[in-house]
């Protein structure tokens, strides 16, 4: 599971741009704060490389290493 913390994400889309597997998609609808929090839509493609967590400037991403 990939979790994005909506309280921390500022919607910069760096995760969408830099994930080598295209896991994230930009959201088309803003949340209550007006932030476009990306959606980890293609999680089955994730290799758990953790690059997204390393590059998220707001420490908003957790990639769970222990699941299926």
């Amino acid at each position: 599971m990939i979790k994005l913390d909506p309280n921390l994400c500022k919607g910069c889309s760096i995760c969408t741009e830099f994930c080598p597997k295209g896991v994230y998609e930009d959201s088309k609808t803003p949340d209550k704060k007006g932030v476009y929090v990306p959606i980890p839509k293609n999680q089955e493609k994730c290799t758990k490389c953790n690059l997204c967590a390393l590059m998220c400037p707001d420490q908003a991403i957790k990639v769970d290493e222990n699941d299926e």
Binding site: K3, D5, K10, S13, N50, L54, C56, Q59, K62, D64
Partner: protein, 287 residues
Amino acid sequence: MEEANESPFMKYMRKDRLPHIFCAGCGNGIVLNTFFKGMEMAEVDFDNVVMVSGIGCSSRIPGYVKCDSLHTTHGRPISFASGLKLGNPELDVVVFSGDGDAAAIGGNHLIHGARRNMDLTVICINNSIYGMTGGQISPTSPQGSYGTTAPYGAFERPFDLAELVSAAGASYVARWTTAHALQLSNSIKKALENKGFSFVEVISQCPTYYGRKNKMRSPLDMMRWMKENSINKRKADTMDSEELAGKLVVGEFVNKAEREFSQELYDLVEEKYGKKSDAIKSAYRDD
């Protein structure tokens, strides 16, 4: 402790202060993560780390980290860090500084820190502009780039910080961009391991001022520009200045073991007084 739903770096952070004040997509947060990763790779004890910074957006980084820190005056973090290191050479002293902080008002401290080769790790977040004060041109702003103080484009030649600090005598120097997070983490690891003055320059994005003034409005525009225009040092060494115009040279510039200042000084004390200095943490001792 790492919690199930949190970023792997959250355990080092002062959670109650988040979200941090940096603009969306600012490079400061990426550099912070790469520092944590480099620290883990170097197996540095987090409790032994002291972060020192000056003034600027980038200099606010230590305030979000759960370690001892000093937020000092503009341009002076290397001086405070030098005092700290000499007071207790066992500490891992890390300086976070911006290009304005390190190269403009603090330029002299930077070159003399390097000249002395004191065991400090200086991470300079170079966003080519003064972010905190509203987008003034800095000593690293590229020629022709726009800022609030350069409505017709900067006409001064910028410093090449990695080259400057190499020439001044640092024993580890590297430069990467925020689009090279893995390489950057690895250089921070080596910088922490090096017993001497280590300088890691990070070309970073200030989308709010540099980006907006220079037709790269979004953080992604800026990071694509960095990725597309960076060239590894090994390749750059075979190219001439014309071919290198507008390019960002990244990689390792210096990595050589050299005599280190605080060790030299403590050795001298021992030699002259016939015993080891007992000044370290002396204030904590019973009398």
